[in-house]
């Protein structure tokens, strides 16, 4: 039984190579709840939020991308300058827990836990984010859609560390919205992320908490892109309604202790409609 606190990426990778079954802990806001409740009995823990390489972000104007280190906290993501580059991710960050939670919780931890209710995840899905996984053997990047394969199930292999996510910096409106039982400190009952690329004339929609993974909405996206006037920010009211219907049809919600499938299906339609109206304010 050990707790390892590496202070370099090489040290973290070595710790994971030595203890491939170790529990990786970043901000602790998911794992500590399980430790405290006795739901998980860790043997070896590798703490990664003191690794400087994981705590930095890099904006590359040449490729219009932002690489966010896995241990960057949601407090940083909700702030400038990241909020300017990826506004939807900043909005999602603002809805995570409380200030105390956001000071600790990391984007890499959100990705690593990979709950369908993870607030950052619909944004990463809508942006076609790349998840960077590093091990002693090397680095690989996986599209988010291939990384998340089920509720809290990912394609991360033993010995691999989530080191970063890379997202595009887009030229269009983007946002994230969710419903829960109240405004603060709430886990999403249903959530939607929307991202517009004016250059590519594309609309991306991703749904959280209404399926085993984050769900993209190819039919609604294609319909919106076809009917939108990107330059004028225009989308007819009946087109918004039709998109909402397509979003509802895409959802695969379940009944559980937080909500009913019927409510979740209704909610994602409403949320998608609101986001489309904000993205395209003119009818």
């Amino acid at each position: 039984m050990s707790v390892l606190v590496p202070t370099s990426l090489d040290g973290a990778l070595q710790a994971l190579a030595d203890h491939p079954d170790a529990t990786v802990l970043a901000g602790g806001t998911d794992l500590m709840v399980e430790f405290n409740g006795g739901h998980r009995r860790p043997s070896d823990v590798v703490v990664v939020n003191r690794v400087p390489e994981l705590c930095t972000w890099r904006h590359d104007p040449a490729t219009s991308t932002l690489r966010i280190g896995a241990a960057v906290t949601y407090a940083e993501i909700e702030s400038e300058p990241i909020a300017t580059w990826v506004p939807a991710l900043a909005q999602a960050a603002r809805t995570v827990g409380s200030p105390q939670i956001r000071h600790a919780a990391t984007i890499g931890g959100n990705v690593g836990t990979c709950s369908p209710a993870g607030d950052g995840l619909p944004v990463l899905a809508a942006l076609d984010a790349l998840v960077e996984l590093t091990s002693a053997a090397g680095v690989r990047t996986v599209p988010f859609a291939e990384f998340m394969v089920g509720p809290k199930r990912t394609t991360r292999a033993a010995g691999e560390l989530i080191t970063a996510v890379t997202v595009p910096v887009l030229d269009g409106w983007q946002g994230y919205t969710k419903v829960g039982v109240r405004n603060a400190m709430v886990i999403a009952t249903a959530s939607v992320a929307l991202a517009v690329s004016n250059a590519d004339r594309r609309v991306a929609l991703a749904l959280g908490s209404v399926g085993p993974t984050i769900l993209r909405c190819p039919e609604a996206e294609a319909f919106a892109a076809e009917h939108a006037d990107f330059a004028a920010g225009r989308l007819a009211a009946d087109a918004v309604a039709a998109c909402s219907e397509l979003v509802r049809d895409t959802a695969r919600p379940i009944d559980d202790h937080r909500s009913s499938a019927d409510y979740r299906r209704h909610a994602v339609g409403v949320l998608a409609g609101r986001l489309l109206r904000r993205a395209f304010p003119h009818e």
Binding site: M1, V3, V47, P99, Q100, I101
Partner: protein
């Protein structure tokens, strides 16, 4: 959380080193503060980061100590309610008394930590900002009005003093 353990490490709490022995791997900072170091000011209630009554500063960041792995906080600067203003009430603590922002008192240490954290970063917060910044601290007695009043009193007093 009374599991036998074999960890030994040192935490820096309120400016002084504190040795921890025979600790279990998964112990939270809150548990270690209260049960091993005898610092009872940080309160434990929800154990899942929802109530804020265990709020402390770790390297200057307000966090829930119940969600900090104690053995992972080695080398970090931890400040608890006991270390905010040893010997005499801080301006925030005095304002809580003056404004009547304390009833049962259980949430008060966490709220005082959160108020210090807010006022140190934002000396002139709007009421909305105060509400947002204190949203991670649950009080079931006061209804928050007097707590917000206390924070605003400190902001005014600090501005007129500077």
């Amino acid at each position: 959380m009374s599991d036998p353990g074999n960890l030994a490490y040192t935490l820096h709490v309120n400016g002084a080193p504190h040795d921890v022995r025979d600790a279990w791997v998964g112990e939270s900072l809150l548990f270690v503060l209260r049960e091993r170091l005898g610092l009872m000011g940080s309160k434990g209630a929800c154990e899942q980061g929802e109530c804020g009554s265990c709020s402390v500063l770790v390297d200057g960041n307000l966090v829930c100590s119940c969600l900090v792995l104690a053995a992972g906080a080695v080398g970090q600067d931890i400040v608890t309610i006991e270390g905010i203003s040893p010997g005499a009430p801080s301006d925030v603590q005095q304002a809580f008394v003056d404004a009547g922002a304390v009833q049962c008192g259980f949430c008060t240490p966490g709220l005082v930590m959160a108020a210090h954290s807010l006022l140190d970063r934002s000396p002139d917060p709007s009421e909305l900002e105060i509400r947002e910044e204190l949203s991670g601290n649950i009080c079931r007695c006061t209804g928050y009005g007097r707590i917000i009043d206390a924070v605003q009193r400190v902001a005014v007093a600090r501005r007129s003093a500077s």
